[in-house]
Each structure stands twice: as C-alpha cells, then as structure tokens.
C-alpha cells in the first residue's frame, strides 16, 4: 500500500458520531453532518494539544490523589485516614487479596497505564510514526476501554459513606484525595476522547513516505 487511501486525501471525512462519509466544501476544515447534525472535521481539531493538556493535568493531579487521604474509617472512635495505596494494602493484609488486586488494578494501575499509554501514543504521532500501528491501536483501544473502571473506588466510597454512618460506633468519611482522584479519572477519559487515532496512521504514512526514497515502501507490516 504505497498510496494511502484515506478519506482525508480524497477530500472526504467521516462523521465520528454516525459514521457517515461526507465531502466537505472546498477550503473548509469543518462542517456539519447532514444526517446526525454533529460537527465534522477531517481530523479532530487541535487533538494533540488538547490531549497533551489533559494528560499533563491528569499527571499533576495524580500526586494529590495519591498523597491525600481518600477515606477515613472510624470504628469505635478510632481510625486513621487512608490513601488509595493504604486502603489497598490494608485489604491485602486482611487476607482479601482478590479484592485488593481488583482495587489495585482499578485505582492505581489503570490511571497510570492510561497516562503512560497516551503519552506513548502522542510521542509516536509527533516524533516519528509508529513502527507497528496495529500495536499502537491496541494500546489506544485498551486505554479507551479501561478508563471508566477507575471510578470503582469512588463509587465504593459513596456507598460506604451512606452505609456506615452510625455516629460514634462506626463512620466512614470521604477525604480530599477523592476529589483529586475523581478529577484524574474525568480528565483522562476526556483525553482519550480528544485523541484522534487516525493521526497515528497519518504519521505512519509520513514515515513510510520518508523512507521510500531509500527503498520500496514496506507493504504495511501491521496490515492485517
């Protein structure tokens, strides 16, 4: 596939909402989908800039989210605020390692993986195209699919706050870290939405075009 057959090259673009193909009026970079009414661009506008901004915000917020306590369990008047990591360790120490693993994956591994994955994808687009675009697409899809599961910890807090509410005997209170953590989740979910995976393929074709001066373009190592 030495020539790209992308819609953009043919002056067409696809509506990300209803997947209808349409032709933009010449000279315009955006239009309105005639079928569903969504705004249509050839590529998501300022995708890289927005994604970088949201990824950086998420990275910075990860610090307070992990340092500040997310919840305090007070039992018979005593109890210490616990952070996300502390809560996971406590579950592990109590022998509930299965639940500890779930909470660890959802609230520690997933946000970090998401941010690292997005940074890798952004660098691949901006530096030199991905060597194996299928692998990048797999990263993109995993990042897009796992994002929502990090809200697990917050839902648990909201359940416990209402459930364990017996004044002096037992009480669960939310902590300021939970606000930061909620923002991390929302910001990273938005970052995935603003990232345009089609840019990966554009970058890949730029890369093969550059190297085609030296040798024949490889027929797409990732073409499945």
């Amino acid at each position: 596939m030495s020539r790209t057959d992308t819609a953009l090259e043919h002056g067409l673009c696809t509506c990300l909402c209803c997947h209808q193909l349409m032709r933009l009026p010449p000279g315009e970079t955006r239009g309105r989908c005639g079928r569903c009414g969504a705004t249509v661009h050839g590529r998501i506008e300022r995708s890289l800039m927005l994604t970088w901004a949201l990824v950086l915000t998420g990275t910075f917020l990860l610090v307070p989210a992990n340092i500040l306590p997310v919840m305090t369990v007070i039992y018979l008047g005593s109890g210490e605020p616990s952070t996300i990591i502390g809560g996971t360790l406590e579950l592990y120490r109590n022998g509930l390692w299965g639940i500890a693993l779930i909470v660890f994956i959802a609230s520690i591994a997933v946000p970090v993986m998401k941010l690292v994955g997005l940074v890798v994808l952004l660098l691949q687009v901006q530096w030199r195209g991905p060597r194996n675009p299928m692998q990048s697409m797999r990263v993109y899809r995993v990042v897009a699919a796992i994002g929502r599961w990090s809200l697990l910890d917050l839902f648990m807090i909201s359940i416990l706050v209402a459930l364990v509410n017996m004044g002096a005997i037992a009480e669960v209170r939310a902590g300021p870290g939970s606000t930061a953590f909620a923002t991390v989740v929302v910001v990273t979910m938005m970052a995935v939405r603003t990232f345009d995976p089609r840019l990966l393929w554009d970058a890949r074709y730029r890369r093969t075009a550059e190297s085609s001066g030296l040798r024949d373009p490889v027929g797409g190592g990732g073409d499945g």
């Binding site: 992308t6 819609a7 953009l8 043919h10 067409l12 696809t14 990300l16 909402c17 209803c18 997947h19 209808q20 193909l21 349409m22 032709r23 009026p25 309105r32 005639g34 079928r35 569903c36 009414g37 369990v73 039992y75 579950l91 109590n94 779930i102 909470v103 959802a106 675009p133 299928m134 697409m137 993109y140 809200l151 697990l152 917050l154 839902f155 648990m156 807090i157 909201s158 359940i159 416990l160 706050v161 209402a162 459930l163 364990v164 509410n165 017996m166 005997i169 037992a170 209170r173 939310a174 606000t179 909620a182 923002t183 929302v186 995976p197 990966l200 393929w201 797409g220 073409d223 499945g224």
Partner: protein, 225 residues
C-alpha cells in the same frame, strides 16, 4: 453541503472511523460484524431485530429504574445499630459532607447517565417509527453517543461488591431487594449495548424518506397527467 451517504464520483461510501481507510459500502450480515481490514476497528455490527430488542430492553430498563433507585440496596448493622443504602443516598451524604464535585460525578455516572441512556434509546427506537420525529431522533442518537461511556452501572456494581466484602469484618452486611433490581438494570444496560445498532435506525429513516419521496413523485406525476 452534500447530504448523500455516497460519493458517486469515487464509489467510496464509508471510511473507518479509527484509521480513515476508505471502504466500499458494505454492511455486516445479520448477526455478524464487520471490522476494518487495516486497523481491525469495529465498523458495523448488525444484530438481528436491533430496533425491536432495543425498544423492549430500554423500556424494561426504565421501569426497573424505579425500584432500583428507591429500594434499599444494602443493609449494614453493628450490634443493634443499622443503616441502609440506596442509589441516591450515598450521593446525598457526600453532598452534605461538602464533596460537591465528587457527589455530582457519582450522581451523573450512576444515575443520570444510565437513566438518560435508557430514555434516549427508548425514544430512538420508538421515535424512528414516525417520520415527524426524524430530527429529534437524529439529535437523540448524537446525545446517546456522547453519554454512552459515562453510564457506569457495571463499575458501580463492582463498587458495591468491594464495599460488601470490605465491611464484612466490621459488621453484618445484608443484601436487600434493591440490589437485585440493580443487577437486573446492569444486565439490561449491557444488553442494550449489544442490541443497539444506530445504522439500522439510519437505514430505516432513509428507507422511509425514499418511500415518501417516491409517493410524492407519483402524486405529482399523476397530477401532471
């Protein structure tokens, strides 16, 4: 701007939404799915009787929302002191404690977004039967695409399970009827993800538009002759 789905000059009718590869117009066989040959993105899934199933599932989801949101889900007791939890209860507690942003996020993801998802699906799958509702239905499909990923009933369910196990050492935890309704709601919500296919809504609209146009042409030609 051209409205037609096809670009007659080139014959391309579709492009992959994840890698922008141009494709011919091919829709998946009934019950099957179509993936992009280059990036393996899911282009189209064609579940059988999509609109009917979606209508049934979303209306039952809306009905099941009433008990799931009002009945208590869990009951926690230490010695003689007990308290119950409903879907909205936790949100109010967080709100009362001053965590407004957190409370509104939980409210949005566990109540508002799932509810609107069911409502929009019911509206889309019933509204596409009438030509007069074409524009609102198109808008509803667009909103559905935006709200889809924020409905997190399954994540909430896992949160309930974690809370259940975590607090077992402190006191007695009893599962109540609301939780069973909630499980049903979650199952319905995931089934609608499988059953809903927006392309069949668009196809139905296009068919009807073609039919009314043909009827209009027939009338006008009849009047002319």
């Amino acid at each position: 701007m051209e409205q037609g789905a096809n670009d007659s000059a080139t014959g391309w009718q579709q492009a992959c939404h994840e890698c922008d590869l141009l494709l011919g117009n091919s829709s998946a066989p009934p019950g099957g799915k179509l993936v992009c040959p280059r990036c393996a993105a899911l282009i189209h899934r064609n579940p059988a009787r999509s609109i009917h199933y979606t209508a049934a599932l979303s209306i039952s989801g809306l009905l099941l929302f009433i008990p799931a949101a009002t009945l208590p889900m869990l009951n926690f007791s230490i010695i003689a002191f007990g308290s119950e939890n409903t879907l909205l209860n936790g949100v109010f507690s967080l709100f009362g404690a001053g965590y407004i942003w957190l409370a509104s996020l939980v409210l949005f993801c566990s109540v508002i977004a799932p509810f609107f998802r069911f409502l929009l699906l019911a509206f889309i799958s019933l509204g596409c039967l009438w030509g007069a509702l074409d524009r609102p239905v198109a808008r509803a499909v667009r909103w559905y695409q935006h709200i889809k990923e924020w409905a997190m009933l399954d994540v909430y369910m896992l949160g309930v399970l974690v809370a259940l196990i975590k607090m077992q050492s402190l006191g007695r935890m009893v599962v109540e009827s609301g939780l069973y309704c909630f499980v049903g709601l979650m199952v319905l919500s995931n089934l609608t993800l499988l059953s809903f296919d927006q392309q069949s809504v668009w196809r139905r609209m296009a068919r009807r538009r073609a039919a009314t146009q043909a009827a209009g042409n027939g009338e006008s030609s009849g009047a002319a002759s």
